[in-house]
């Protein structure tokens, strides 16, 4: 399978979209080369702003542009896009409901060897807590292109999270995506795997192995953490009664917590959460980190076995 980082999907999508949507602006915080927006910057210099290493200012400039009818995409790393500009996005974007997108590379452990300073493991939980924010992480290049397009169409704040590292291109080019509508990839009756972002690929691998062992796995790509596709979670819960969530994020406050809320409200069902166990990781290869910190396919299988 072809391997492409989803940050490339953002760079390609925004350049393509801007040809037809003159409202689009990209605001970079110095790291356009890494966030893959240099092609955009070259094509649309009049709609490209580089504020330098000043993320808080980027958030404010985006808010100001949004009040003038523009559709600004702030482009930076997830650690900074969620934490360095958090309050600016909360108060000056989400509270007034302005049309600003925060589009971030380096989600989760994908900037592996950069170490914990650059591994955003809290970002989706942070933005999930802010009223009015959509939070999504596409799993591959094609899903990214579609969700970036949806973000540009939608009026209001959106947080998008991409990978630094290459991910398999799983979806076809014409697969459609909508915020808040999870993708049922495989129907099953014994256990439900719900994954978001890059760890969909580990979940696919786990599901394949489990199927070979005779376990019927239902697999959902929950690309949108917020609004969560609650109906889909409930429907699957009624079928299998057992859910394992899988996310490249702290296992608190992200997908696992969102699904736990649904299970608790339903009053039945059981859950295991795969994610980083409320700790910082370390520098290292992405796949080795997933193995060490219990976020890879064998660990997902272990969690499934605990529930069966």
């Amino acid at each position: 399978m072809k391997m492409i980082p989803t940050r490339d999907g953002f760079g390609d999508a925004i350049t393509e979209l801007a040809k037809h949507n003159e409202k689009i602006y990209v605001i970079d915080c110095d790291i356009s080369k890494s966030c893959k927006t240099t092609k955009y910057a070259k094509a649309f210099p009049e709609r490209h702003i580089n504020v330098g290493i000043a993320e808080q200012n980027a958030a404010g400039v985006a808010a100001g542009l949004a009040t003038m009818g523009k559709t600004p995409f702030i482009s930076t790393y997830a650690a900074f896009g969620s934490m360095r500009m958090c309050e600016q996005i909360r108060t000056s974007v989400c509270y007034p409901g302005l049309n600003v997108k925060v589009a971030c590379s380096h989600g989760g452990l994908t900037p592996g060897n950069d170490g914990p300073t650059h591994q955003a493991i809290e970002d989706m939980g942070i933005y999930r807590s802010i009223p009015g924010m959509i939070v999504a992480m596409p799993a591959d290049y094609n899903a990214t292109r579609k969700l970036v397009a949806r973000a540009a169409e939608y009026y209001g704040p959106v947080y998008l999270r991409f990978t630094r590292d290459a991910m398999p291109v799983f979806y076809s080019e014409d697969e459609e995506f909508e915020f808040g509508k999870g993708k049922m990839l495989k129907q099953g009756k014994d256990i439900t795997l719900i994954a978001i972002g890059d760890l969909l690929h580990q979940s696919l691998e786990a599901a394949e192995i489990l199927e070979k062992r005779g376990i019927s796995v239902e697999l959902i790509d929950m690309h949108t953490l917020k609004p969560l596709d609650v109906d889909l979670v409930k429907a699957s819960l009624r079928k299998t009664g057992r859910i394992v969530t899988v996310e490249d994020h702290n296992y608190m406050n992200g997908l696992g917590s969102a699904v736990a809320e649904v299970i608790a409200e339903e009053g039945k069902g059981i859950l295991r959460r795969v994610g980083l166990k409320d700790r910082f990781a370390e520098s290292g290869d992405y796949y080795l980190l997933l193995k060490k910190y219990g976020m890879d396919a064998p660990y997902i299988i272990k969690m499934v076995e605990e529930l069966l």
């Binding site: 100001g64 542009l65 003038m68």
Partner: protein, 279 residues
């Protein structure tokens, strides 16, 4: 320019009325921030009555000038200005900070007609002004963008990130006004975290600096006029003011940053402002 130029006498009288509104609405709310609202009253009067091109009957007019009250806690001053200009009924001022009111404790652009930006968390308004100014230039609008800052507020690092970017993008449609009253919640700015030399800081960041007495109406008008002549870079007006200006027991008294006058104090303040006999 469509707007009518008013006399200094008229503007001073308007500012006096505005101060009365500020006092009475904060008294009715039983909480709020009178000090910084009173210090900015003359600046806001000059701005709304002589400088801005806005349409009270069409608050969303795309070509309007924009105002960001970055020091959002002093919102009674902009609420009074908007009501007196006719953006909404003057009686609404008495609902400040009450349940269901459009007048939140800090400004909400989605609720208040004529309010261009939500604010209240200090340090953010200048960045937003930069975004507006870039947007206005891109669309070739004649709109000018005014950002009202406090001198305590410029302790926030984001202000200087924004200042750098305004110079980089040569935003001569952007004007910052710093209400230099030298007071913040915990005391004098010069004690808490000195911001001087303010003029040299803005100059070093590439801004045209205009220093004035922020209670001298003619100087305020001249400063706005001068800012219009600046080309290729943004302008900042450093307005020396007195926190609590116009009410003697509030002037330069730190505690009046965020405290409502009681019935007696309110009556006293209104008498001072109206020139009547004091209780």
């Amino acid at each position: 320019m469509e707007h009518v130029k008013n006399s200094v006498e008229f503007l001073n009288e308007t500012a006096r009325e505005m101060r009365c509104s500020i006092i009475s609405m904060i008294h009715a709310a039983k909480s709020g921030h009178p000090g910084g609202a009173l210090s900015a009253a003359d600046i806001m009067t000059a701005l709304y009555w002589n400088e801005l091109d806005v349409r009270p009957q069409e608050p969303g007019w795309p070509e309007r000038d924009r105002v960001i009250l970055s020091k959002g806690h002093t919102c009674p001053v902009i609420y009074a200005a908007l009501a007196m200009k006719g953006f909404f009924d003057i009686s609404v001022l008495q609902t400040l900070r009450k349940m269901g009111s459009i007048l939140q404790g800090h400004p909400d652009m989605k609720k208040v007609p004529g309010l261009d930006m939500t604010s209240g968390s200090l340090g953010q308004g200048l960045s937003i002004g930069v975004g507006m100014a870039i947007g206005a230039k891109a669309d070739r609008l004649k709109s000018r963008i005014y950002v009202i800052l406090g001198d305590g507020e410029i302790q926030e690092g984001q202000i200087w990130e924004a200042a750098m970017s305004a110079a980089k993008y040569r935003l001569d449609n952007l004007v910052a006004v710093v209400d230099v009253n030298n007071l913040q919640v915990d005391g004098f700015c010069s004690d808490i975290m000195p911001v001087e030399p303010i003029d040299k800081k803005w100059e070093a960041f590439g801004w045209e600096v205009i220093k004035i007495d922020g209670h001298d109406m003619q100087q305020i008008l001249d400063a706005f006029a001068k800012a219009r002549t600046v080309s290729g870079r943004p302008a900042v007006i450093l307005a020396d003011t007195v926190k609590g200006k116009g009410v003697d027991y509030m002037e330069n008294v730190c505690e009046w940053h965020g405290m409502a006058p009681n019935d007696e104090q309110c009556q006293d303040a209104l008498c001072q402002l109206k020139g009547g006999d004091r209780p």
